[in-house]
């Protein structure tokens, strides 16, 4: 991809991040603030990203977008955030913005979008349930119509950031009598409403990022319905944020991980006291990893190119996610093997070991959430290879 026109912009973004990004030490994957101060800092940072026109630039101008916005700039922003290991914008917030822009009424746009731009509304997604994950359409949370209102009762699971979210995008069943997709409606739910109880769940990483959300006769009005009644499936699966080019930043992420792998091999000592990277077998493992990293970078870049040309194939996104997240797991497993095989890692690089442990545990979040790898393989099989559906 020819990124040259973006170079001055890149410099600008880099300087902005260096000057303004909050200095937080977060475990890989964790975005929940650890204190009220941190929360203030994060919201301030998100607001400044919108104010500076780095986030939300692709929105229609009347809602704050930049008229001559180039989607390549979205990619540059995300790449630089990764490179600086800075706090990144939350996916759920970007997806909510997109859903509001695509499906919301003018009234909802006027009511909700400026809160996002000011860092005042963090969103979470209330889709999955204990018994409905990959098969989301089987969900059972009811939003029972009562006059023009709805009464919502049910249980949601794995809602990332729900414990500090201001708004939730809810998918609930409004009509159990019709086809299971057609009976679903999306809602924009203020998280402080009576009847909502949120319990953080501890992840295997040790952090508590996702939550159970219990809804007990939560009363919603017609103003909370997002999109059409019975049109919820379209709202939540439209899924693609306007910042689709963000996927390209995974190439930078992989580059950085490979850098960490090399650092690890330079700092790790094998039992005879020599450093790991001096050994041919380790070099061969690194070389094999490098060739895979370069391959996936090409896949990701090719995907971005097509997104920028608007020539995307429906299977491109799932394929890129599959390639990136599965290689991520593989690199983590290799890193752990190298750590285990060593007698020690130089103290100066202890941070690298910490990062590998966190990355290893977190790598499964990426292959399970946002479409588990098995589901994505099915999609790519059907959409790219034209294979028949499993009966």
């Amino acid at each position: 991809m020819n990124a040259e026109p973006a170079e001055p912009f890149r410099e600008e973004v880099r300087a902005f991040i260096a000057a303004r990004a909050p200095r937080l030490r977060h475990q890989e994957g964790v975005r929940v603030p650890q204190s009220p101060d941190e929360q203030r800092e994060i919201r301030r940072w998100l607001r400044e990203l919108y104010e500076a026109g780095y986030l939300g630039a692709g929105w229609p101008a009347e809602w704050g977008g930049t008229p001559d916005h180039h989607p390549l700039h979205d990619l540059v922003l995300m790449e630089e955030l990764f490179r600086a290991r800075a706090y990144r914008p939350l996916d759920q917030v970007m997806l909510a913005s997109h859903a509001i822009l695509a499906f919301g009424t003018d009234r909802q746009k006027a009511d909700l979008l400026h809160h996002i731009r000011r860092g005042e509304h963090i969103w979470c997604q209330l889709f999955s349930e204990p018994d409905a994950g990959s098969d989301l359409a089987s969900l059972r949370t009811r939003a029972e119509p009562k006059g023009t209102d709805f009464v919502v009762t049910g249980q949601k699971a794995w809602s990332t950031d729900a414990q500090w979210a201001d708004m939730g995008m809810l998918l609930a069943r409004t009509d159990p009598s019709v086809d299971r997709h057609a009976g679903l409606t999306a809602f924009a739910v203020p998280m402080h409403l009576p009847g909502i109880e949120i319990r953080p769940i501890r992840e295997m990483t040790g952090s508590s990022e996702f939550c159970e959300v219990f809804l007990d006769e939560v009363r919603l009005g017609p103003e909370h319905v997002l999109g059409d009644l019975g049109g919820g499936w379209a709202v939540v699966t439209s899924g693609l944020a306007s910042e689709r080019a963000f996927v390209g930043a995974n190439a930078v992420q992989l580059e950085m991980m490979f850098g960490d792998l090399v650092s690890l091999c330079r700092a790790a000592r094998i039992p005879d006291g020599t450093i790991a990277i001096a050994h041919e077998d380790i070099q061969a493992q690194l070389a094999a990893a490098l060739s895979k990293v370069e391959g996936v970078k090409l896949i990701v870049r090719d995907t971005v190119e097509r997104i920028l040309q608007n020539e995307e194939h429906p299977s491109d996104g799932p394929l890129a996610k599959l390639a990136y997240t599965e290689l991520n797991v593989e690199l983590c497993e290799l890193a752990l093997e190298i750590i285990a095989s060593s007698i020690s890692v130089d103290a100066a690089e202890a941070e690298v070991v910490t990062r590998w442990y966190e990355n290893f545990l977190w790598s499964r979040a990426l292959t399970i959430s946002g479409g588990a790898s098995e589901i994505l393989r099915g999609l790519v099989g059907r959409q790219l290879l034209g294979l028949p559906r499993d009966s």
Binding site: W158, M204, I270, A350, R364, I368
Partner: protein
């Protein structure tokens, strides 16, 4: 699990689990490696906090040594009242002379709470016993990863030690028990995941009915069976004093340490979000498997040993 394991340890030791590799004359069962392997698998499956592999290998050396190891230490270990940890000194240059031993053992399981420490030099069959717990210092290994046991880096500075001979089987025994501990966890988690996918439904079927799920579990079952048979075979040979035992141990270690993490991490995947929770607990086994591999410097160490047993090392200059 974890810190308080010593409270219940005398009870378990009372069942005999500490004495499988202690001569009958010293109050044990002889050299019942297969029994020790089974115990280690069970302790691994239970995420038990004891440094069992090191304890069994060290009491084996202490009780079998021709030097008189303190009898009350051996008796105490058999009764579950005393604990001896095993460490491998980082380099052979670590000296033990008239002025005691000076050196570092980077990874010693249970070092912080042990009553005694048996140190093996990497390339000698001699072992050094340090029976005075305050004689060594322990730094925790950071970052901590395995949360079911505690491990530390041991430093010794001119510490008096008793030289014990007869440690030929100690390291293979230690390494085999580490592999067995991991294996016990993998077997238990595989079993658990298989029952989970039988119950969990998506798209109107148990997820275990999807071939994408089924085939992977079958692959893991095949791998696990190979690991399990390999560990059992190595235990038999070691117990019989076969000259091929060390090679068989390296094979078992290599199979377990190079596969376990991958299998366990895939079980998380096949379980979905619930598998990603702390409570579900799959991660404890991942952490522990990694730690066992780390204690043995595996898979690389086992691969190197195997290359040695097969006669592949140092051939290059020959061939030219």
């Amino acid at each position: 699990m974890g810190v308080d394991w010593r409270a219940g340890w005398p009870l378990l030791a009372g069942l005999g689990v500490a004495g499988f590799c202690v001569p009958k004359a010293r109050g044990g069962y002889g050299f019942e490696v297969a029994a020790a392997v089974v115990a280690s698998q069970e302790l691994g499956g239970a995420l038990h906090g004891s440094p069992y592999a090191g304890l069994i290998a060290s009491v084996h050396v202490l009780a079998g040594s021709d030097v008189d190891a303190p009898a009350e230490l051996v008796d105490g270990i058999l009764a579950g009242e005393r604990v001896c940890a095993l460490g491998i000194l980082n380099s052979a240059a670590d000296k033990s002379g008239g002025d005691g031993i000076t050196g570092v053992a980077s990874l010693v399981d249970g070092a912080a709470t042990a009553d005694a420490l048996l140190l093996m030099a990497p390339s000698s069959l001699d072992a050094l016993l340090v029976a005075e717990p305050k004689a060594w210092t322990v730094d925790p290994i950071l970052p901590t990863f395995d949360v079911s046991r505690s491990c530390g880096e041991v430093r010794l500075d001119h510490v008096p030690a008793l030289r014990c001979s007869g440690g030929t089987s100690a390291l293979p025994l230690y390494r085999l028990l580490l592999a067995a501990d991991t294996l016990g966890g993998v077997e238990r988690m595989l079993h658990r995941t298989v029952s989970y996918v039988r119950d969990r439904h998506a798209f109107g079927r148990p997820i275990g009915a999807f071939q994408a799920v089924q085939h992977r579990l079958v692959d893991h079952a095949v791998r696990t069976r190979a690991m399990s048979l390999g560990v059992a075979e190595a235990a038999r040979m070691l117990g019989d004093g076969s000259p091929r035992a060390a090679r068989e141990v390296a094979l078992a270690e290599l199979a377990v340490s190079s596969e376990a993490t991958h299998v366990l991490h895939d079980l998380v995947q096949l379980t979905g979000a619930i598998g990603f929770t702390w409570e579900h607990g799959l991660h404890h086994y991942e952490r522990r498997a990694h730690h066992n591999a780390r204690l043995g410097r595996n898979p690389r160490s086992a691969a190197r040993s195997l290359a040695g047993f097969e006669g592949w090392l140092g051939r290059r200059s020959h061939e030219r």
